[in-house]
Point group: C2
Chain length 144, copies 2
C-alpha cells in the first residue's frame, strides 16, 4: 500500500475538508474526532504525509507526541475524566481506518464503555462545545 | 495519588528487578512485557519518575516516542504482524496497572484477539526468544 493523498486527513490538512480544530503547529494538527469513542475524543495528526508510524519521521512523531501530551492535559482539565488513553493504530488489523498516521486521545470514565471506533457521527454542536471547553485549557497554542 | 518509588518499573530502572531488555537510552528503556497481550508485546518507559503522561516532561515523552517508533519498526521486521498498536494508558479507568508512565507496543494479527491485559505470565524462554528476534532489527541501540 502507498500513501493516498486523498485520504480524509490529507484533505483536512489541505483545507479541502472541515475539522473542529483545537491546536495547530508547524508539524501537527489536533482536532475533534467526528465519530468519538467517548466525549472529548481528539485526534492528533502530523502534517507529514505518512500512512503509518513505520513511514513517519522521528521528528514528526515527536511533534505529535508533544501535542498529545498537551491535549491530554487540556482534556483532563476541561472534562475531568477518570483516565485518558493515547492510542496510535497501524494497519487494519490494529484498527486503523484512515491511511494517514493519527493519535487518538480518548478520555475514559470509570464504568463507561467506549463507543465503537469510527461508527457513529456525533452532533456538530456537541463536538463544538467540547472543543470550546478543551481549547480554554490549551493556553499556549504556539508551543514548539 | 503521588508517584510510588517502589512501583515495578521504578525497581526495574534501579536494577532491583530483572527485565528482558531490548534497548536503553539516556532517557528511556524498552523491554518485553511479562504478561504480553500478543507475541512480541513490548513496553517503553521513561527514566523520569512520572506516574502518568500528565506528570511527564515533553522531553521524556518525545524520547519515549522515538523508541516506540524504532521498536515498532523492529517488531514489524522481526515478527511480521498485520498491524501494530501503540497505547499509553493513564489512570485505572484507562487500564493503567503500574504507576509509572509506559507505552505499549503491541503487534496485532488479523483475526487474533488480544489476551487480557496484565493477567498471565509468559514463559521466560518464549519472551527471550521474541526479544532476540526483535533485537536483531534494532540495529543502532544508541540513537539519541
Amino acid at each position: 500500500m502507498t500513501y493516498d493523498h486523498n485520504n480524509a486527513f490529507a484533505r483536512i490538512l489541505r483545507g479541502e475538508a472541515a475539522c473542529i480544530k483545537l491546536v495547530e503547529t508547524e508539524a501537527a494538527l489536533a482536532f475533534m474526532d467526528l465519530m468519538p469513542q467517548s466525549d472529548g475524543h481528539v485526534l492528533v495528526i502530523p502534517k507529514e504525509p505518512a500512512m503509518d508510524i513505520f513511514e513517519l519521521s522521528d521528528t514528526a512523531a515527536e511533534a505529535c507526541m508533544r501535542i498529545d501530551c498537551h491535549v491530554a492535559l487540556a482534556v483532563r482539565a476541561a472534562l475531568r475524566p477518570d483516565g485518558v488513553v493515547i492510542a496510535q493504530l497501524n494497519g487494519r488489523a490494529a484498527g486503523q481506518t484512515v491511511g494517514h498516521v493519527h493519535f487518538h486521545v480518548i478520555p475514559r470514565w470509570a464504568g463507561q464503555r467506549l463507543r465503537p471506533h469510527a461508527r457513529v457521527l456525533a452532533e456538530q454542536a456537541t463536538l463544538e462545545s467540547f472543543a470550546e471547553r478543551i481549547r480554554a485549557h490549551l493556553d499556549d497554542p504556539t508551543y514548539e
